[in-house]
């Protein structure tokens, strides 16, 4: 296959995949919602879960974006240093976003700041947003696609705590964000927390945290404990679907962390709504691919 053909093929695949994930939830989210639904006794909560299930069925059947807010498209790339299209990926993903916008169709969600004009293509300055990790001595590429909707992006918050505030301060911060702004962000939420050294490093990690599977745990024992405690604690508050009160509040709490400066604790929260539209796809060097997030998906 010549290079132009390869570029075209990968662009087509990524356009189709980006469009696909707006219509069907990933397996982990789907399974968790089905489980949470069974715990509800509050009639309003039950009614909302019924609407949610009916909606996903209709979206699948009618082949339409399940939520009208198909977000700003973000790609989290983990590419081998020897991936053959490494230098072309940015262009490929930009064109894939435009393709998905026509195909979905996706809502037009890229507004040029300061000019305050909607581009109508879902592409604009630095949009789609790309986040890069380069893996030495590897020739594949794994790409997470995320539709960052407005509602679930609004609660996002980052701050830098003093070490005296400790992980107790992290607890305060997370609870404040979720019980105030999180209520409007279409709970049950997937809560992503970054614990790090500064505002922007924590913010980036908090977003990576919601790309991790629902129900997975951080490898560090203390971080995993904190995930469990926050998840149980937030659920005890009983926010319920759409903030209407219920048996649970969240689909899960995922923490990602880095080392930090001894004088600072950077902490950030990102939230994923119940309609947490993300997908993971892995390409080999020959551009054959495997869809990890949606079992049995056919593009």
């Amino acid at each position: 296959m010549n290079k132009d053909q390869s570029i075209q093929d990968m662009t087509d695949t990524m356009a189709k995949f980006t469009s696909y994930i707006g219509k069907r939830l990933p397996n982990d989210v789907k399974d968790k919602l089905a489980e949470l639904r069974t715990f509800e006794t509050n009639p309003l909560a039950k009614a909302v879960y019924t609407s949610m299930a009916d909606n996903q069925e209709a979206a699948d059947k009618l082949d339409r974006p399940s939520c009208q807010d198909t977000g700003v498209i973000q790609y989290f790339i983990k590419a081998g240093a020897r991936f053959p299209l490494l230098g072309e990926l940015e262009e490929i993903l930009r064109n894939a976003t435009q393709g998905a916008t026509r195909m979905g169709p996706l809502r037009h969600n890229a507004v040029e700041t300061f000019d305050e004009k909607n581009t109508g293509t879902n592409t604009g300055t630095n949009i789609p947003w790309l986040d890069w990790e380069i893996v030495p001595d590897d020739d594949g590429a794994t790409i997470d696609v995320y539709m960052a909707g407005g509602g679930c992006t609004l609660p996002g918050k980052a701050t830098v705590l003093m070490p005296g505030e400790g992980y107790e301060g992290v607890t305060d911060f997370v609870f404040d964000v979720i019980t105030s702004r999180g209520v409007n962000a279409c709970p049950p939420l997937l809560v992503g927390i970054g614990v790090s050294t500064s505002a922007e490093t924590a913010a980036r990690l908090s977003k990576r945290a919601i790309l991790r599977e629902v129900g997975s745990r951080n490898a560090n024992e203390n971080a995993a404990l904190m995930e469990k405690l926050l998840e149980e604690g937030l659920n005890e508050v009983g926010i319920g679907p759409q903030g209407l009160t219920g048996a649970n509040s969240v689909m899960g709490v995922n923490i990602e962390a880095s080392a930090r400066h001894p004088s600072t604790i950077g902490v950030a929260v990102s939230t994923g709504c119940w309609a947490h539209r993300r997908g993971k796809i892995r390409f080999k060097a020959d551009l054959s691919y495997e869809i990890i997030s949606h079992k049995g998906a056919v593009l």
Partner: protein, 203 residues
């Protein structure tokens, strides 16, 4: 249980018996109206291009497809975060005479006051359920202020039994989500204390 259905034009007496937590459906016209439309009316003093006296608005920015015959098709339309319109809503209700505001999540004291003063209600349509909602739109009759782009255009929808709509602010000024938030805030303190005692990793 029979469905409680509101029809546009909505009269004060249709709403007076409703309480927060009640579930209703809407038949008639539902006009999308969100951030910039509110700003244009209230701050820029521009007249809304649609008469919504006795009507219903939807805080929503849908996905719409233009069909070959030039008509618009509603693809996906769910509610957006209503709180963004809090700043404008009291004055908006006063100026337009709108009776039903549909959106997502709670709104604040200004909207509560507006609903009480002018007999209007705010209702929640389950967020994210946008295809369900689209199937309840019979036709897009008009599209105004298209210069604002797809999400912000005023789409005039004819809807049939559109819902479930959960009343979150009633004409008495009760606010379901604010009541719930008070409960959450009361419950969270002891829960947080319990967690904090177990995360003293800095020793």
């Amino acid at each position: 249980m029979t469905k409680k259905i509101l029809s546009t034009p909505i009269k004060d007496e249709d709403l007076e018996g409703l309480n927060v937590g009640d579930v209703v459906y809407l038949t008639g016209h539902l006009v999308t109206c969100r951030d910039v439309a509110h700003r244009r009316l209230i701050e820029l003093k521009r007249e809304l291009p649609v008469d919504i006296r006795g009507g219903a608005i939807f805080h929503a920015g849908p996905i719409v497809r233009k069909k070959d015959d030039g008509k618009f098709e509603m693809v996906s339309i769910g509610p957006t975060t209503s709180m963004r319109m809090e700043k404008f809503e009291r004055e908006f209700i006063k100026q337009t005479g709108v009776k039903l505001i549909v959106g997502k999540g709670g709104m604040g004291p200004e909207t509560m006051a507006g609903c009480k003063e002018h007999k209007a209600v705010h209702a929640i349509f389950p967020g994210g359920c946008a295809v369900l909602a689209a199937t309840q739109v019979e036709e897009i009759e008009r599209a105004e202020w298209q210069d604002l782009g797809m999400p912000e255009t005023l789409w005039v929808n004819r809807v049939r039994e559109f819902g479930p709509l959960i009343i979150s602010i009633d004409t008495k000024g009760n606010n379901l989500i604010e009541q719930n938030k008070a409960v959450f805030n009361e419950k969270k303190k002891p829960i947080m204390d319990k967690i904090k005692s177990q995360v003293r990793f800095i020793k």
